[in-house]
Symmetry: C2
Subunit: 424 residues, 2 copies
């Protein structure tokens, strides 16, 4: 029997009614003749409520105990879902992360999966049960302690289970219809993609598309898991995220042009002004930032002014790391010998993503022309093999996205339906 892994997030299991709705969907899949393994998040705002409780007890909760605390969230949702399914006449069994064999490293709060040993899940499946697994949590073998996987953790749980159990597909249920060519709230003519390669999905996720967490996409790509991103509120087919190199010989790869336009307003720009243009200085700057665990995205170094021998270095980073980065750099100002720091959190990033970029020439030229015609000024540019990203003023980035979306003929016939409150 083929196996499907289904993942339901917190908003899909927010209350008893939602849990019953999810149960009906799981049972439908089972009745269609599939083995089903379900990965489930904590109900609605449970995780935030538990974090608030911890905050009331101590401002700096011990990470081991915080994981113990948070892991109770999925225990509640998974037990309720198993009960709901059983009450519909199907055998169902819930398993915690450790019972499911979700082995992680010992990094509390953002553990990485190192092995999956789903012995008990296989037994339960062999006995005809529908299996429910707590998302987001795992277990470290050395410390024998409970861990949690951090942001996007339940998606990663689902993908890891799909890989370990050799699932046909991993369905990620969410509150939108699938992966779109752009954010429909910004670009009304955005279209749902029927298919997207895992490489493109990775670039889209890294560029600000929020529908899938980058860690889950990476895991799926590395292990050849086909994802199906779809809505838990409708029966419409969603978006298939696949690895074209794993397609069976002879199966035509879709003639994909461009996957989409992602925008990201969560970044800020720091400019280090008046840096001596001598070897090793840039290395010093980024070493000190790396030591503070700051994720740098784009970097631009100006051409040095010959007269002074000084240059400026600009880079982008998450706004949430802004203060930390400024403090770290200020601390080494004398050592590095720069003039000043400029901080700008009014920037927007637009990224055009598509595997077709590899073969099709002229994509950058067309992009810059579209932005020029829309009167949008570019502050930084960076490219990867299948992505071009530009930084603009924050207030221009939505207009820029619509212009680029139209120029590359990504626009659909009709405006996309935007669900109320679709935060992701």
């Amino acid at each position: 029997m083929t196996l499907i892994v289904q993942k339901f997030g917190g908003s899909s299991v927010a209350d008893a009614e939602s849990i019953k709705r999810v149960a009906r969907r799981v049972v439908e899949t089972r009745r269609a003749g599939k083995d089903v393994v379900v990965a489930v998040s904590a109900m609605g705002d449970t995780t935030d409520e538990l974090l608030d409780l911890a905050g009331e007890v101590t401002p700096l909760p011990a990470p081991r105990e915080l994981d113990m605390l948070l892991s109770s969230g999925e225990r509640i949702s998974m037990a309720l879902l198993a009960m709901a399914i059983k009450s519909m006449g199907h055998e169902a069994r819930s398993f915690t992360g450790s019972q499911a064999g979700m082995i992680t490293d010992a990094t509390h709060g953002s553990a990485r999966i190192v092995d999956v040993t789903p012995v008990r899940l296989r037994e339960a499946l062999d006995e005809g049960a529908i299996v429910i697994v707590a998302g987001f949590q795992g277990f470290n073998r050395d410390t024998r302690d409970i861990t949690t996987l951090g942001r996007g953790g339940s998606d990663t749980t689902a993908v890891a289970l799909a890989a370990a159990l050799g699932a046909e597909q991993c369905e990620i249920y969410t509150d939108v219809d699938g992966v779109f060519t752009s954010d429909p709230r910004v670009v009304p003519k955005a279209r749902k993609l029927d298919r997207v390669t895992s490489e493109e999905m990775l670039e889209l996720a890294a560029s600000g598309a929020k529908v899938l967490h980058i860690r889950a996409v990476e895991y799926a790509r590395r292990h050849g898991v086909t994802l199906h991103v779809r809505s838990s509120f409708t029966d419409t087919e969603g978006t298939i995220v696949y690895d074209p190199s794993r397609l069976p010989e002879g199966e035509a790869v879709e003639d994909s042009v461009l996957a989409g336009v992602a925008i990201d307003l969560s970044q800020a720009k720091i400019t280090v002004v008046g840096v001596p243009d001598v070897p090793g200085v840039a290395a010093k700057i980024f070493k000190i930032l790396a030591k503070s665990n700051i994720n740098i995205d784009m970097i631009v170094q100006n051409v040095s002014a010959a007269a002074t021998g000084l240059t400026d270095i600009s880079f982008t980073l998450p706004k949430t790391d802004g203060e930390k980065a400024l403090a770290a750099l200020s601390g080494v100002q004398a050592d590095i010998g720069f003039d000043s720091l400029q901080y700008d959190d009014e920037i927007g990033k637009l990224s055009l993503v598509g595997a077709a970029m590899r073969s099709a020439s002229g994509v950058s030229a067309k992009l810059f022309e579209a932005l020029y015609e829309a009167g949008i000024n570019l502050e930084m540019i960076s490219t990867s093999e299948i992505r071009i990203s530009v930084v603009t003023r924050a207030e221009s980035v939505h207009r820029a996205a619509r212009a680029v979306h139209a120029a590359f003929e990504l626009d659909g016939e009709e405006d996309a339906v935007v669900y109320a409150g679709t935060g992701r």
Copy 2:
């Protein structure tokens, strides 16, 4: 280093402030030079809220999943308590029932502890940590599933840990000052007992005293664990529950007279009227009740009327089992051949308990005289080696308790302090 086990119930850890107060008390014990193991219940009404959630999903939740659900409650309180203690500068580690080695049978909802293998707790203690254990929950080795111990479960967890770890004492923190000679809300002159034997405590618990659950007292008695029942709101010494046979040679056993007067308004009386007085009929009646899992307490059979060859059999049982018992008996009326059933839920039971009863004669006579003088009519009487119980009208039982309490000179000098809302 000597070891103390401390148990805190749901009302002692109802919110962040209470958890911090408990943390301070645990740390004080640690600073006094003791190793400390803490057993903790779920916060406040958590268990009831989880039961309500399950009820919204299905009227008959699967027992395995219900245990998985309910066990999340102590996970929350124990993690928060460990965080609170750590934030006070002491090493603390929380453990679930299965991590603590609390091995039970497979009876979901009311599992019995069959073994305790506290390997990880000993390791943590050896490393100098304060150990926090989830009360109420365990783990079955064969099914590898989570179980819960049912009512009074956290008390039992604490006692089992004390036995397995060879603790000096098991402190049960509650919202009253200790074990009283009677319920202070009924008998204002009730006194706190400084000491009571485990045998007496067992009879008191079985007779309606709610301060300790009977299963925990039984476990303590069987394993020779000394209990200390005390208030989590004051520093006053509470009541020591001890086994006199385990006292060191030569240590004087207190000249205890009577331990107390317990009352119980939770029972009802069923009278089977017109039962043929032939051998085997009573056995049939109680066999059918046993098959329905109904706990019978007192039984009285009238002298048979010679003319008819018929007799009446009365027994008491928990009111909550009343309907079930009537249905079971009605089903066999033709087979047994009785006339009718009478149901009376307006009864009260009063029990006088004390090990001194064994040697002192005249206790029953004095009891009956006190009740006669107070004008109270007795409907049923039963006795054990260290207890006399009588059934009266429900509305008379409080007055009866005060009369007996005074007659046996149990009254204290002053009225006992009654805390607001002391349900137990």
